[in-house]
Symmetry: none
DNA sequence: CTGTAAGCGAGACGGTACGTCTAGTCTTTTA
DNA sequence: TAAAAGACTAGACGTACCGTCTCGCTTACAG
């Protein structure tokens, strides 16, 4: 606790006020949960966060940017592959469960759904969402999956095949969640992984 | 040519003006393609269609309703399983191709993406979209898939398993399209169907 | 009581809502008296009048236009030369008194002072103020003065001289009011008129 | 010449930076000429002067104070009664001409018009303007006029009469300039002085 | 065969949020 | 300790749409 104590909140100096930053992120998140995406407005965030609109515009270009900032903060933590000594299959199932739970989680899941929704409306949002979050997460998932498959001796050489195998398991989860609006139960995830592993073995033998 | 001549357009009588209806649907579609979802506004539609705002509100509750009306008209046609004497597998692949093409089509695909996007923002849109379009289409696809699997002697008894098998093939396509923003090539669709059929056979043997 | 009764106020049709118009004019006037010129804002007027900002912008370009509208309504009435059987000199003094009182009146005087103030800040306001109010009033005052001088047999032939004579009596009043912030008492006005009449006679003899 | 070297400009020491002061005054004046009164903003002055906003607020309460500072500097010099051996009447006419020219001068005249304009909007500005500039100038003009009248043997005993005589000549000039937006030509000034002198003589005989 | 009721184009209305601008305050860092 | 730099809260600016409304016209059907 040194000089940073001065910036606890309240007023600010020439450097960025960290308290204001977090207040904005939290306010946006709260509004999304309480009132949905249309209820997230720059004015609403400002009021709720006790912050001037100009302060938001100084650091973020739009409400989408604010939400994306939230997602980058929360999502990368919640979707990391944890260190584990479980069997490869179990580790894979457990990651799939983590993804499914994340998609339906109260705060972070709503943010992600809102951003995917907006990405479908707006090309620029799509790009930001993918580059700011999705592709990073995808890299981590591909690496995790590769490790699992290597332990099971069915890792493909071709990276594109690995991507196909990943999409075989996460595609249906997302489709059910985002499009159908349905959760995927544990059994389904297990069968999905089994089917994919069978396919991986078939492919590797060719 | 009797009473319809009066309703050709221009002005109207006590019955609904069909010209105005189509002009509204077309204007909404055009605006979506030209300016994206945010560019579709009630005022914009009214101006472009040469129609009073009140006329739109008389027949549709919101711009989402207008777009959904469009989708119901176009989508059900473009996604029907055609009568064909091809092999079951080929028919399945061809339907999958049809879906993939539809998702990326200029007009109808944009409408569908916009509606899915809005469904992710708004519960009510989600419900309308599913009940007005998605569930109907899903029923047709489930019936088509069942027929294919029956011919291949691997149709499951349980309807829920059939749904899982359907999601195995359409889930990844949608995920790539909606979330990753990538097209799925023909090869991928073929391998996807093969993997699903293998899984169906495994399941039916149990 | 015919069809116009429908537009008493509340909501409006495709024609201008007279109630809203008057509410805006009154709100602007009230704000000016209560809070001064800086306290007259488009938002404040809108709130006080119970009117949407867009409604103000639809009919007036700026708050200056609103105030000018007020002045045109009030000023032309308060500064008219009334029909009178008093002596010419008395009529002139009485008009001068009327002007002096007007300049210091609660509502209309404040509006006029505000507009002259703004005219000194902004060329466009100056032009509007002059063309919308000042020059009309000046014409009436010149006509009134000419009549008075004719009855006293000292009306100049040259219009420019007439203007000079007018400015001899109204210039000091305005200077004291606008620049010095002082009222001119009745005695002063009387002496001012006497001096001017003496000058008019001198001039006419040449 | 010791510590002043440090205060040459750029950065500053513990004492007031004279360079900054002048830069602020000049910037305000420039902005007024270039963009009008509304274009004179604290931010604009700060930017143009290369000075921090806080520095302005440290020494002046508002932009009006800055402009008034300018006027006090320039106005008192430009409006002084010079020593002259001309006839009294000519000296008076020449002072009147000086005033008229000042009101229409590029820099100082604009400042004065702006301040009078703002004084009409705001009581506090009015007071500052009068006490900081106007009343001082008026004292000088009254003294000058008294001297002229004494030489012509028609100086009134009553100071209030002297003020009235002054307003007879400067009132119309200001009215034409500030309200009508018109210049007064030399001839007019001459006739105005003649009329006033005639009135002074009439009054003194009573 | 005529009134009446509905659909229609037009557009004014009260609102909400937008993104920008400036005000005036405060804090940090430099000299 | 003055000054430059600039982040901060506050609030008005003028614009764009929202969804509701009123108007005046046109036209189909009912009495």
């Amino acid at each position: 606790m040194k000089s940073t104590a001065a910036n606890s909140f309240g007023h600010a100096g020439p450097h960025r006020n960290e308290g204001a930053r977090q207040a904005v992120l939290d306010a946006a998140d709260d509004l999304l949960v309480e009132r949905g995406f249309a209820g997230v407005t720059m004015e609403g965030i400002a009021t709720k966060a006790g912050v001037a609109k100009q302060t938001i515009y100084r650091w973020w270009k739009s409400k989408v940017d604010v939400l994306l900032d939230n997602l980058e903060q929360d999502g990368e933590m919640a979707l990391a592959w944890p260190v584990s000594d479980a069997t490869p299959t179990d580790r894979l199932i457990s990651q799939l469960t983590r993804i499914e739970n994340f998609l339906h989680s109260e705060a972070a899941g709503k943010v992600m759904q809102a951003l995917i929704g907006q990405a479908l409306h707006d090309r620029e949002t799509a790009q930001k969402f993918r580059e700011g979050f999705l592709f990073n997460q995808r890299k981590r998932d591909l690496a995790g999956l590769r490790e699992v498959l290597e332990e099971l001796d069915c890792a493909p050489k071709d990276e594109r095949v690995l991507e196909e195998l990943l999409d075989q398991i996460i595609g249906p989860i997302h489709y059910r969640s985002l499009v159908l609006g349905q959760r995927s139960d544990q059994e389904l995830l297990v069968r999905s992984v089994e089917a994919m592993l069978r396919d991986a073995q078939v492919r590797v033998q060719r």
